[in-house]
């Protein structure tokens, strides 16, 4: 008998799908704003990875913590960050969360989005630290540390897994294996095909979701992992296989990859597949999905209007929150 306790409910699946659509159009809009020089910072598009990105964070509460990646906005949208706050940050506006200091480095202290650090793979132990707070404050919250397989090449990866198990803290290490490490295929920078089995070296339970473009598979795996961590059983490692359909960033011509391979991967785009799954389950109609997309577009338009109406920071604020001397 198939265990169904971790299957997504209709409401959960629709929430995740909504966030995936919102992510896709938000990133495309960001690209457009950059091309039109309306925001000064380029895009690391996460096209094709929305099921993983939104999937790792959409079940979290504001008292749970998330550490995200540079690629796209899926995980912060999943955690509930508004598109307005994202665009204000990218636009360096005075009324952004950081007051114009952070740019790509999204964060939101009010809803538990921890800083997106500059160095790839330097944040694993930051997640462990947040886990220590949860442990010491006897809360049932979790930390989702979301990263790519390239970041897992960084030195901090191993001590963080060791400490997570040693201190039994509720950290979910969620690896998005999108096949590329900046400008290289993953196979050229790492000697193994999978990342997750490394967790076994620390006695940490792990699972590979082979089809990370399947919203239902991602959601099920996350529900199980979150339940594990919330019940005080400690850390968990999940690896989601997907494919980076986008270049590393706007100006990258992707000379290091086969166009045919990329076109093939494009056929597994998680968005149409998610829509198909929802229709098959009769959890939504075509008309309802169309309406949902329109809602997303309206939210994005509103965010762009807010961006355009918002002023740049006052230079007089440059020393706010600085340590004197």
């Amino acid at each position: 008998m198939v265990d169904t306790q971790f299957e997504l409910t209709k409401d959960e699946a629709l929430d995740l799908y909504f966030k995936m659509v919102l992510t896709r159009y938000t990133e495309n809009k960001h690209e457009e704003l950059f091309q039109k020089q309306k925001v000064p910072v380029y895009t690391h598009l996460g096209t094709g990875q929305e099921a993983v990105g939104c999937g790792v964070s959409f079940l979290l509460t504001k008292d749970d913590y998330l550490i995200g990646t540079h690629r796209g906005v899926a995980e912060v949208v999943g955690k509930g960050m508004s598109i307005k706050d994202i665009f204000l940050e990218y636009g360096g506006r005075g009324n952004s969360i950081s007051g114009g200091r952070a740019g790509l480095h999204l964060h939101n202290p009010k809803i538990g989005i921890l800083p997106l650090l500059g160095g790839l793979g330097t944040d694993f132990s930051l997640a462990v630290g947040a886990g220590l707070t949860i442990r010491n404050q006897k809360r049932d919250n979790v930390v989702v540390d979301y990263f790519g397989e390239g970041a897992a090449e960084q030195a901090d990866f191993h001590p963080a897994m060791n400490m997570a198990m040693l201190y039994k803290v509720p950290v979910l290490f969620c690896c998005c294996t999108n096949q590329f490490v900046e400008y290289h295929p993953y196979r050229e920078t790492t000697c193994t095909a999978d990342v997750a089995p490394r967790a076994a070296g620390y006695g940490m339970p792990w699972k590979i979701v082979e089809d990370g473009n399947d919203l239902f598979a991602v959601g099920r795996a996350m529900k199980e992992a979150i339940a594990h961590a919330r019940s005080g059983k400690g850390a968990y490692f999940l690896e989601f296989k997907t494919y980076r359909l986008a270049p590393h960033h706007t100006a990258d011509q992707c000379l290091y990859r086969d166009k045919k391979e990329c076109d093939e991967a494009g056929k597994k785009d998680p968005l149409p597949r998610a829509a198909k799954g929802l229709l098959e389950r009769k959890w939504a109609t075509e008309a309802e999905l169309k309406k949902l997309t329109e809602q997303c577009l309206a939210m994005i338009d509103e965010a762009v209007q807010t961006l355009e109406a918002s002023g740049m920071p006052d230079p007089a604020t440059v020393m706010n929150h600085a340590v004197a001397g």
């Binding site: 950081s98 964060h107 330097t122 930051l126 630290g129 947040a130 010491n136």
Partner: protein, 322 residues
Amino acid sequence: MAEKYYTEALVDALRQEMLRDESVVVMGLDIKPSIWGTTRGLYAEFGPQRFISTPVCEGSYTMAGIGAAMTGLRPVVELLFSEYACLAAEPIANVAGMWPYVSNGGYKIPMVVQTFAGARGHGAYAHSQSTQAIFLNTPGIKMVIPSTPADAKGLLASAIRDDSPVLIYHSRLLLTMTGEVPEGEHLVPIGKGVVRKPGKDATVVSFGNMLYRSLEAAARLEKEGISAEVIDLRTIIPLDEELIATSMEKTSRLVIVEDGRKRGGIGSEVAAVVSEKYFDLLDAPILRVAALNTAVPFSAPLEKAHFPQVEDIMAAVKKTLE
């Protein structure tokens, strides 16, 4: 007041703050046996939740301290040797120093990094350095270097209560010194230096272990009829410029003594600040007495030649008076 070892004073402060605020935790390698004695006895009292003994991963456990500090704890992170602050440079310089500002105050990092610098003899390059200067260029942090057991207690307690990340460098040589330490709550403000010996002819600015060589130099100069005023900075960031300027209004001469290397050192920064702001007070070039721009060598005669000696300080003071 009671006569205590420097390390006992540190345990006093840590214990006092851990009792006062349950969000205070201590983290570090070998803190349970406590090889320096700075956390001795606290494990039995506070247990593993608040006394977090770490694996050998200085950079990673310092980063974990930051994650804990951002989310509600107040960690005191101990690094056994100041050289290991280099392993923790990523968390200190790129995260702790940055994010309270980058997040516009949204994420505070009330964390103390406590480490041990300078030579105790035969530590060679890996266990004798003073690495403070590496972080002079890091924004968003404070830096403290105590020189007495009482100040060690008061400055550590203040650092724990501070909402900014504070680096405390203890001089390894001073850990076994004793001195009068106030009982109960004792706080020494961060950012305030103190005149340890008044004088009128030249100002000698020092801190930590080098304070004592500066005081000895001043005592010997006194016998030669030269009156040096010796300042103990206690805090490097933020610098007590006012105290230095007030002294120089009397003396018009400045010598800065440190056991870190000369190039780009703390003395360089103090000299630059004084030249920029108080040039009119100067009657002679500012002189820096500091360690050589080399690794700290192992063998005793070489080690001695590496670090500033009393005679070097005396010579520098005399030179400013020429």
